[in-house]
């Protein structure tokens, strides 16, 4: 008779998944070569491969969501280039013991480029970080945290053309903590 929690009280919006999905996320599997083997002719094989790719894409999304829902790793964005691992440790330790921090690096310069991954030992600690550290300040900047499917080698690098993050390629404003003007604006 004691019953469960009311839906209104179950609300935990800070912990919910955001809309963002890593477009580079792939489940490791054999390629759609089976599709290539089958099929009577090139057109049929092409159709089968396309169908496989679509299925894999949906499967990737599904798999990514599954991982995000039980992840202990957070992506942290909008950091200053000068924010150190030590500062991040101090702030994020407030919600629990940190297992690992991986600083995001410029792919070319190998210097900090304003993001990092924070991995906790327990999901509960990561959830508290999403509830109480996301949207607060570090180095006088509002930082943003989001669930991450898990660090894989290579993901510590920015994906922008110049080596940093994509957002720093195209932005028009001046941000002293993130290398000044955006890369495109700098070239102009």
């Amino acid at each position: 008779m004691s019953g469960g929690l009311l839906k209104a009280l179950r609300s935990d919006s800070y912990v919910e998944l955001s809309q963002y999905r890593d477009q580079h996320f792939r489940v490791r599997r054999a390629g759609p070569r089976e599709g290539q083997a089958l099929g009577q002719n090139a057109e049929e094989r092409f159709a089968l491969v396309s169908l496989c790719r679509l299925a894999f894409c949906l499967g990737d999304n599904e798999e990514q969501e599954k991982l995000l829902k039980k992840s202990c790793t957070l992506y942290v964005g909008n950091l200053s280039f000068y924010t150190t691992e030590e500062q991040i440790y101090e702030l994020f330790s407030k919600s629990g013991d940190i297992k690992k921090i991986i600083m995001g690096l410029d792919k070319v310069k190998k210097t900090a480029c304003g993001f990092c991954f924070v991995e906790y030992y327990s999901r509960a600690d990561a959830e508290n970080a999403m509830r109480y550290i996301n949207g607060t300040r570090l180095d006088d900047r509002i930082i943003r945290t989001d669930w991450d499917a898990g660090f894989k080698e290579g993901r510590q690098y920015g994906r922008g053309r110049s080596g940093g993050q994509v957002r720093d390629e195209y932005r028009q404003d001046y941000d002293a903590g993130r290398g000044g003007y955006g890369k495109l604006a700098q070239k102009q």
Partner: protein, 754 residues
Amino acid sequence: IVRNGGSDKNLNSRRKTSDANETEDHLESLICKVGEKSACSLESNLEGLAGVLEADLPNYKSKILRLLCTVARLLPEKLTIYTTLVGLLNARNYNFGGEFVEAMIRQLKESLKANNYNEAVYLVRFLSDLVNCHVIAAPSMVAMFENFVSVTQEEDVPQVRRDWYVYAFLSSLPWVGKELYEKKDAEMDRIFANTESYLKRRQKTHVPMLQVWTADKPHPQEEYLDCLWAQIQKLKKDCWQERHILRPYLAFDSILCEALQHNLPPFTPPPHTEDSVYPMPRVIFRMFDYTDDPEGPVMPGSHSVERFVIEENLHCIIKSHWKERKTCAAQLVSYPGKNKIPLNYHIVEVIFAELFQLPAPPHIDVMYTTLLIELCKLQPGSLPQVVSFEGWFQFALSDCLTQDLESPKPKFVREVLEKCMRLSYHQRILDIVPPTFSALCPANPTCIYKYGDESSNSLPGHSVALCLAVAFKSKATNDEIFSILKDVPNPNQDDDDDEGFSFNPLKIEVFVQTLLHLAAKSFSHSFSALAKFHEVFKTLAESDEGKLHVLRVMFEVWRNHPQMIAVLVDKMIRTQIVDCAAVANWIFSSELSRDFTRLFVWEILHSTIRKMNKHVVKIQKELEEAKEKLARQHKRRSDDDDRSSDRKDGALEEQIERLQEKVESAQSEQKNLFLVIFQRFIMILTEHLVRCETDGTSVLTPWYKNCIERLQQIFLQHHQIIQQYMVTLENLLFTAELDPHILAVFQQFCALQA
């Protein structure tokens, strides 16, 4: 909607179930939302909702019963709204009223059995407010309270059990005192007399341990039952006039007084069992009074019942919405009646009361700080001033200049600046602190390498250190490092006995100094170094002395960077280079005595204890899971009658046996850790007390006050684990021969669950 080719009948019943679910969700939403901001008045919303629910009773009665019981339990800040709703339903449907009361009593019994005492209080309060709504007859409520207070006569039960029943009675009276007194004053007076005599004779040993401020001025820190009793006494003297509580049922008096009332069935408090765990006593934290905010409404006095009700409701709001910081802040600032009370002061006081609650705050620390930020965002014109008024930096900073740096105020400022530095960087602190206060600034967190400069040429091991440095830079392997270290002489021995792997402090020194120095760039670099040369570390630190020396050397290298020390200790424990007991012994060692009162030392010790606790829990869980797996296997076997799975059992049973041993070993290590810590505390405190006695000086030095409270902190922060060791502690460590100063701490701790 799942499409399938089933029969029409299936499709219909499936549709009906999904419709029913929708209606149930809708009902839940209606019930939860009533009382929130709306275009219509609360009264018309309640009336409308009562009509809807009455109409749905034929089909959804049990769901509605369950929902109403749940909101009674989980939304106590809206108590009177829901009691009014139940009152209206009872007026329309007498049987429903009766069933609801029965359901509530069942739920109360379940809550008590499940040790959900905090929720049980809300249920009792709900039942008592139902008297005001003409659902429950006053005499039967009085009878229940008589039974509650008669628990104070029980013998051989914990005081905390008697306390709870008294609390449940007293804390309902702001809502229903008037009505009960009007109907049954003689009986109520008798109950009061019994309550008063109990409160006079009960033990209050636990109070000093739970107080936040040590002085009673300007804000006395009262024991929670004493405070509530004073509040109820004052209410009684004021003829039960209470004007703060929102009472929607008053608007419906003409309808409700026509309703037939139900009698509460006689309620016998469930007996005390070994598994009963009652709430701990509390001290009411106060930081404001009527002198604060002279321009706004006056703050109700500490013994006014309004103060009690406001604080209860604000605590309930935080309890309901702690996961949603924006909602929580919004609900707090929209507390009804906020024009008559200095609401922002109440909110801040309630938040700090939770933050400072002993033994532990109800929620994680960072929730409260972020909540305060959200509140400041909502009320930027008024709230920040409240927080800073009582702000710790308002006290005269000039005191810090004239006082010795080790006395409390300067020490506090130094620790705060060190924390600020961790969130920023050293130069920033130097930039913002005025030059006159520069003595309070933290040290530059740089590495200290003893073999670094020319003067170190004469140090023993210097050449090996240089050799190691070259090796590390050329990506040497563990074996190569071992061979370099092989030739390091052991200053502790005349002749080397074996292969040279016994405790050799010089080996440890050159290795740890050089490696940590080379890896000093960042935490990641240092962790990498620990991982790469884990084998060397494990070998050098094999003995207890080795472990202690590794910690010592690490501390020498990083003594300017407490944050680095903490993360290195953490990593060393997790990679089993050192164990928890070694860390405890290191903390109490003479090398750390100068820093013994600094925050980082206690951060490290508590973090170490927490790791130990989590480790035990993890292995216990593994054991439980293995046992469950075996039980499932057995069940499947008995279902299948398959005799061949005997073999499968064997492997699992072996695993269970191994895990059982692992659990016992971990629990033993855990107990040993606490014993070591308590033992060391007793040693240093006794040493101090004896010295003061011989010298004739006062015992109460800043160091002593710090140390004895750190001992208290160990008890409070880990009380659940320590409860298991009470017998050992009493017989082995906290015996009658102990100095009374130290014994008092133990006795106060025992009083928390006595």
